[in-house]
């Protein structure tokens, strides 16, 4: 039905340039490698992951090729595991904690660097460095700084007379420590995107507000904030989608420990599959993660509707 409805417009529109059968063929030929790649490397694995989550898939399965169907057993095993609530809570705390501070600090820095002054461009571009480094490198550096006996953070604390903190060995400090690391990594991204958004706000609006006697805070509150809203939405949603799946940072800094204090859904899924070799359960946690990421993803796409509308045209 949609086909018959669409056809007239298809044949009428390209009157200026006659569509040849070969045109469509050529376009498909150019697209073909990408389509094949997406089907083989996204379509197939996603289906395989779904299937695997309903199977008792173990190391033996790789050799025998046999993985008995167990229905939703993997899901109920995962959901009834006391680690599930720990991992889910850690994921939520890690994500919210990272994003709130990344965004607040990023916005403050973007506002600061929006004012032109000597060296502002150079200094701002230097701040990009933490975001460009491999996450494993950043993780290793912070792990070294967090070291209880020889780390620089505790040395600084001792210097001002505060008791050293067992950053990575205490179950209550480990999560704040990885969140701190992740905030540091994420600040540049927030800074760059928000800075781009600020630059797009016409200076004349600020001049007008200043003439009307608006204070710096009022100018931020009534000019910057509302006009920055679309960019803010996109930054926060992209941050959510990326932070939920953070793996490298946690693995290098704490490895999910101590005593699962920093285990998130992502690291737990890795642990189930590649340490306990319970691939079915690992796949089940992965699929739960996909559902969460998809929900946020759709919220993101809705907030980026303008972008999509342009895309679809």
């Amino acid at each position: 039905m949609t086909l018959t409805a669409a056809r007239p417009s298809v044949t009428r529109r390209p009157a200026a340039r006659k569509p040849r059968a070969s045109d469509r063929f050529v376009a498909v030929a150019f697209l073909l490698p990408a389509i094949v790649y997406v089907v083989v490397f996204f379509g197939y694995p996603l289906v395989a992951n779904l299937v695997m989550s309903t199977q008792n898939y173990t190391v033996r399965s790789f050799y025998t090729g046999e993985a008995p169907f167990v229905g939703f057993d993997n899901y109920s095993a995962v959901l009834n595991n006391p680690l599930f609530s720990t991992a889910a809570l850690n994921t939520a705390l890690f994500t919210v904690g990272s994003i709130v501070f990344q965004f607040a600090i990023g916005l403050a820095l973007a506002t600061f660097f929006n004012g032109r002054f000597l060296g502002s461009t150079l200094l701002r571009s230097l701040l990009l460095l933490p975001w460009l480094l491999p996450l494993v490198v950043s993780g290793a550096v912070w792990r070294w700084m967090f070291d209880t006996d020889h780390g620089v953070l505790n040395a600084a604390l001792r210097a001002v007379g505060v008791d050293p903190v067992p950053w990575l060995t205490s179950t209550s400090w480990a999560l704040p420590a990885v969140i701190l690391t992740n905030i540091w990594i994420g600040i540049p991204f927030n800074l760059v995107i928000l800075h781009g958004g600020l630059r797009a706000i016409p200076a004349s609006l600020y001049e007008a507000a200043e003439l009307d006697g608006a204070s710096a805070w009022q100018r931020f509150r009534h000019v910057t904030w509302p006009l920055l809203r679309p960019v803010t939405g996109i930054v926060l949603m992209l941050g959510l989608v990326y932070t939920i799946k953070v793996f490298d940072v946690i693995m290098v800094v704490t490895g999910g420990g101590p005593a699962n204090a920093t285990q998130t859904l992502t690291t737990w899924s890795y642990r189930l599959s590649f340490h306990d070799f319970a691939f079915g359960q690992g796949a089940a946690v992965g699929n739960i993660l996909i559902v969460v990421a998809t929900v946020f993803g759709f919220v993101y796409l809705r907030s980026a509707k303008a972008t999509l509308a342009e895309t679809a045209s």
């Binding site: 340039r17 376009a27 150019f30 697209l31 490698p33 990408a34 389509i35 790649y37 997406v38 490397f41 996204f42 197939y44 694995p45 996603l46 395989a48 992951n49 695997m52 600061f112 002054f117 060296g119 502002s120 571009s125 701040l127 990009l128 460009l132 480094l133 491999p134 996450l135 494993v136 490198v137 290793a140 550096v141 792990r143 070294w144 700084m145 020889h150 040395a155 001792r158 540091w184 600040i187 760059v192 995107i193 781009g196 797009a200 799946k245 793996f247 693995m251 290098v252 490895g255 992502t266 899924s269 890795y270 599959s273 590649f274 992965g286 946020f296 993803g297 342009e310 895309t311 679809a312």
Partner: protein
């Protein structure tokens, strides 16, 4: 605040935020023993290159492996993404918007899910512990990104340009190579840079799809280095510095491409 005060404040911000990087470089030049003193040395006075010697002898092959994987990912991603973006941006393809949408969505799939299922696929195909396997796996992140970035750029190439070449009798293939590719140079550099950086930094696929028997990428090398002998921070930090070099070079030589890549997909004008 006057301009000079602002510059001073800006320098202070940069010093605070980049301190971890200084600390990495500082530790990379200090003998292992000095790093274990209760009061750390703030400057690498009387430094040593031992860390770099250790890094190069134990991690040198890993660095080389990562270079191969990253270059392979760049070549493969661009080879797949360039023609696809050309078709999506310049040729009328039925279902084009659907493909763009799919490319947008797949970027949100958590990497651990991809790793979990690629592991079983690769073990069946014999692609575990292979360079080709890692290039193909890393491309799951870089191809959708590159395709969308290149497409966004190619939309702005005037149709007159490509159609003139068609009228002159050039085939699609020829038009693609002699018009689209040269005109898209900047966007290609951005897409290529980010593909390189991603593959260079990849840890998830590296740690799941290799067993360390034949080769291991540098990220896995650092991970195992940190895990095994955490007392040798001098060698670890020297390796970390070496692994940071590509990012530092890119920031210096290609800063505008870097910013273009970071803001693509977020700020559209």
């Amino acid at each position: 605040m006057t301009g000079r005060l602002k510059t001073a404040a800006g320098v202070l911000i940069v010093v605070v935020l980049l301190f971890p990087l200084y600390w990495m470089i500082n530790a990379s030049f200090q003998p292992s023993g000095a790093l274990l003193k209760p009061d750390p040395d703030w400057f690498p006075v009387g430094g040593t290159l031992d860390g770099y010697r250790k890094a190069l002898s134990t991690q040198g092959p890993n660095l080389l492996s990562s270079v191969f994987i990253a270059l392979g990912t760049v070549v493969f991603s661009l080879a797949v993404a360039m023609p696809a973006s050309y078709a999506l941006a310049q040729l009328k393809v039925r279902g084009g918007p659907v493909i763009v949408f799919v490319m947008l969505i797949v970027q949100m799939i958590p990497g651990i899910v991809m790793a979990n299922s690629l592991y079983t696929v690769f073990s069946n195909l014999g692609l575990l512990d292979s360079y080709l396997g890692l290039v193909l796996a890393d491309s799951t992140a870089t191809i959708p990104f590159a395709a969308l970035l290149l497409r966004a750029f190619m939309i702005s190439i005037p149709r007159e340009l490509t159609e003139a070449s068609r009228v002159d009798g050039a085939g699609y293939w020829r038009t693609f190579f002699s018009i689209i590719v040269p005109v898209s140079r900047n966007a290609m550099v951005t897409a290529g840079l980010f593909s390189f950086l991603f593959a260079w930094a990849d840890f998830l696929f590296a740690v799941t799809l290799t067993t360390g028997q034949t080769f291991q990428p540098i990220t896995v090398g650092i991970y195992r280095f940190v895990g095994n002998q955490s007392a040798d921070w001098n060698g670890i930090m020297a390796t970390a510095v070496l692994a940071s070099i590509p990012a530092a070079i890119l920031l210096v030589v290609a800063q505008r491409y870097v910013v273009a890549g970071m803001t693509s997909g977020a700020v559209k004008d």
